[in-house]
């Protein structure tokens, strides 16, 4: 089985967000960057599928600046066979990035291209499905189970009020959600071996997109709490607050 995994480098989810000087992006000072957690489900699925097939190749691909190479090596340390760094500046437009990825992947002869369902920085949740559309192959997103057999993939995903089952022929693009598997930690031997695995650098030009970032801002400060009233009589006020103000109902 030949499987590609598309990987993003993102700030660790415990990062305290500070808006940078330009007002459109975070201040990266002191920020720890890690592989996108949802991509780890994709990496684990790819490594496990290739191991089960007994033959094949897993290739991890990332678009970005040189800092992304360290993230690629983390994937190699997990057990992926080789890495490709598409060297270029990603666009704020997911479709522009998807075009670059699709262009690189189309001649790779991949049975599967796996993504994480979304990246925990921009929450774009689009590039995987866009790549599938550009490649003209089947796509299922946010999968929570995967079985590959006889050139077909059987998946499930969570929808409101239930679990949706689907299947498609390979080659296909799938995006992976929490619950698909438990990603392995890079072993120490894996970390040492990663340095020796191939990491190819391919310069790319990311096309101009249709998206401009106008601003990035912190949410309004949590206002001091208020006691809305006493007893059951206060319930309508609570429900109204939860619906209109907090927007969680």
């Amino acid at each position: 089985m030949k499987i590609a995994i598309c990987l993003r480098r993102v700030p660790d989810t415990t990062t305290k967000i500070v808006v940078g000087a330009g007002g459109t992006a975070i201040d990266e000072t002191g920020v720890k960057f890690v592989p996108n957690p949802y991509d780890e489900y994709a990496l684990e699925a790819a490594i496990a599928l290739k191991d089960a097939a007994g033959a094949g190749e897993t290739v991890v691909v990332a678009l970005g600046g040189d800092a992304v190479q360290e993230t690629l090596r983390t994937a190699l340390a997990m057990g992926v066979d080789r890495a490709v760094h598409l060297q270029g500046t990603p666009s704020a437009d997911g479709l522009a990035n998807a075009r670059v990825l699709a262009d690189h992947l189309k001649d790779g002869g991949y049975d599967l291209v796996l993504f994480g369902k979304l990246a925990v920085d921009d929450y774009g949740q689009q590039v995987g499905a866009m790549v599938a559309e550009l490649l003209g192959v089947p796509c299922a997103t946010a999968i929570t189970s995967l079985a590959v057999e006889g050139g077909r993939a059987k998946v499930t995903r969570e929808v409101e009020g239930g679990v949706e089952a689907a299947e498609c022929a390979l080659p296909a693009v799938l995006t992976c959600d929490k619950g698909l598997n438990t990603p392995r930690l890079p072993s120490l031997k894996g970390i040492m071996a990663a340095k020796k695995k191939p990491l190819d650098i391919v310069p790319v030009t990311v096309p101009a997109g249709q998206v401009t970032v106008v601003s990035l801002a912190l949410p309004p400060e949590r206002a001091a709490g208020k006691i809305l009233g006493e007893g059951a009589a206060a319930v309508p006020a609570l429900v109204a607050a939860l619906t209109s103000d907090a927007k969680v109902l």
């Binding site: 660790d12 989810t13 415990t14 720890k32 890690v34 957690p37 780890e40 489900y41 360290e70 090596r73 983390t74 340390a77 929490k178 438990t182 990603p183 392995r184 930690l185 890079p186 072993s187 120490l188 031997k189 970390i191 040492m192 990663a194 340095k195």
Partner: protein, 396 residues
């Protein structure tokens, strides 16, 4: 998932920038493993006095045993800074779990690697790395702790091998070990130069191990008494290149090196807990972290951790150059463990009443660290080692 560790470390002087990418990756993997696998069970294990042996396969799979030994023997082949970071992160979890790894790697695998025949290395090292064999290090005796050269365990040569007699005490992993490294006198009982090392499988007739009960420290670790009663071993049980006290002491130097890093890990855990608590605990209408006394506590902790980190890192770099002399290791072990015991105690105090509950970690670390202060060369012994190094005069 292998995503975010809840513990994000302590790094006030950007020591991370002094580490290589691999060293950071090693540290991050162990940090995540401790959060995922160890932290959920350690409180119960500590209270029950039980080592979480179900974690051994996972530790082996990650490659935590003998990580700085060569790849050809099934080990990870890491440098010594990476090895130290492993110990730091394990001890951030619990000193007992780090003790397990220290014994397996530095006190069992290392002596086989340093003093063993090629056949012994090929036979034992891969299995120990894989956690298929568990080892223990039999040096200390009931009456010979700080003075191991006075040991009275004997190894008498026979027609086809050796027969060992004696008792060892305070042996980590003893009761669960499948193999032991026993140090015994092959010559005159008063001649420490006759001490040699032996690989003794623990199922050899005459060998018994029994856990020592009633410990108030290192409760999530097996600490055992070993008894050897006419234990017959073949000729090839001898570690051929061992000879004199230098051999076991070289092993101890390896372990002490790891412990210097471990102290930093325990201190980080306690400081991190204290810092968070100080921010959350409201008293007299404000967080206790807004009071001068607690701020001074935290400032002292951060200072000592930062010093200890830099000490351990430079020691690691020296070790990789072959320049980590026993005295240099003594200085770091002595300092980093002592500062950790103080940080643990001060953190426990900052936590107030909650600090005596096992759901908070500082008191568990505080109790553990008393053992770490005492073993692998007591604090006082390291003072004398340094004293001799400085003055040229032995004051033991």
């Amino acid at each position: 998932m292998a995503g975010s560790s809840e513990f994000t470390g302590v790094d006030f002087y950007d020591v991370d920038a002094l580490l290589s990418e691999e060293e950071r990756a090693v540290r991050d993997t162990v940090r995540q493993w401790v959060d995922d696998a160890l932290m959920p069970v350690i409180g119960d294990c500590y209270i029950e006095g039980r080592f979480p042996k179900q974690l051994i396969p996972g530790m082996a799979e990650l490659g935590l045993f003998g990580a700085n030994l060569p790849e050809e023997y099934g080990c990870a082949g890491l440098n010594n800074v990476a090895y130290g970071l492993i110990m730091q992160e394990l001890e951030r979890g619990d000193s007992g779990i780090r003790s397990f790894a220290s014994v397996q790697g530095a006190l069992v695998m290392y002596p086989i690697y340093a003093f063993g025949s090629e056949a012994q290395k090929q036979h034992w090292l891969p299995k120990l790395a894989a956690g298929q064999e568990i080892g223990c290090f039999g040096l200390t005796e009931p009456d010979y702790g700080s003075n191991p050269g006075g040991m009275i365990t004997t190894a008498r040569e026979t027609a086809d091998g050796w027969v060992l007699n004696g008792t060892k005490m305070w042996i980590t992993n003893g009761s669960q070990a499948t193999v032991s490294i026993i140090w015994a006198k092959t010559g005159d009982i008063d001649d420490p130069k006759s001490v040699r090392g032996f690989i003794v499988p623990t199922n050899t007739p005459g060998f018994t191990a029994k856990d020592q009960k009633g410990k108030l420290s290192l409760r999530a670790s097996d600490t055992s008494e070993l008894h050897l009663q006419d234990v017959h071993v073949p000729k090839d049980a001898l570690l051929p290149n061992s000879g004199g006290m230098k051999s076991p002491l070289m092993c101890l130097t390896q372990a002490r090196y790891g412990i210097a890093w471990g102290g930093v890990g325990a201190a980080m855990a306690c400081y991190d807990e204290a810092r968070r608590y100080a921010g959350n605990r409201i008293m007299f209408g404000k967080p206790i972290g807004a009071t001068q006394i607690q701020q001074e506590r935290l400032a002292d902790m951060l200072t000592e951790i930062t010093k200890g980190q830099l000490l351990a890192l430079q020691l690691g770099r020296l070790k990789d150059q072959g320049k980590a002399t026993p005295a240099r290791v003594s200085l770091a072990k002595r300092n980093n463990v002592n500062m950790a015991t103080e940080i643990a105690r001060e953190a426990r105090r900052l936590l107030g009443g909650n600090g005596i509950l096992v759901e908070y970690h500082s008191m568990r670390h505080m109790a553990n660290l008393e053992s770490v202060y005492t073993y692998e060369g007591t604090h006082d012994m390291h003072s004398l080692i340094l004293g001799q190094e400085i003055t040229g005069l032995a004051a033991y």
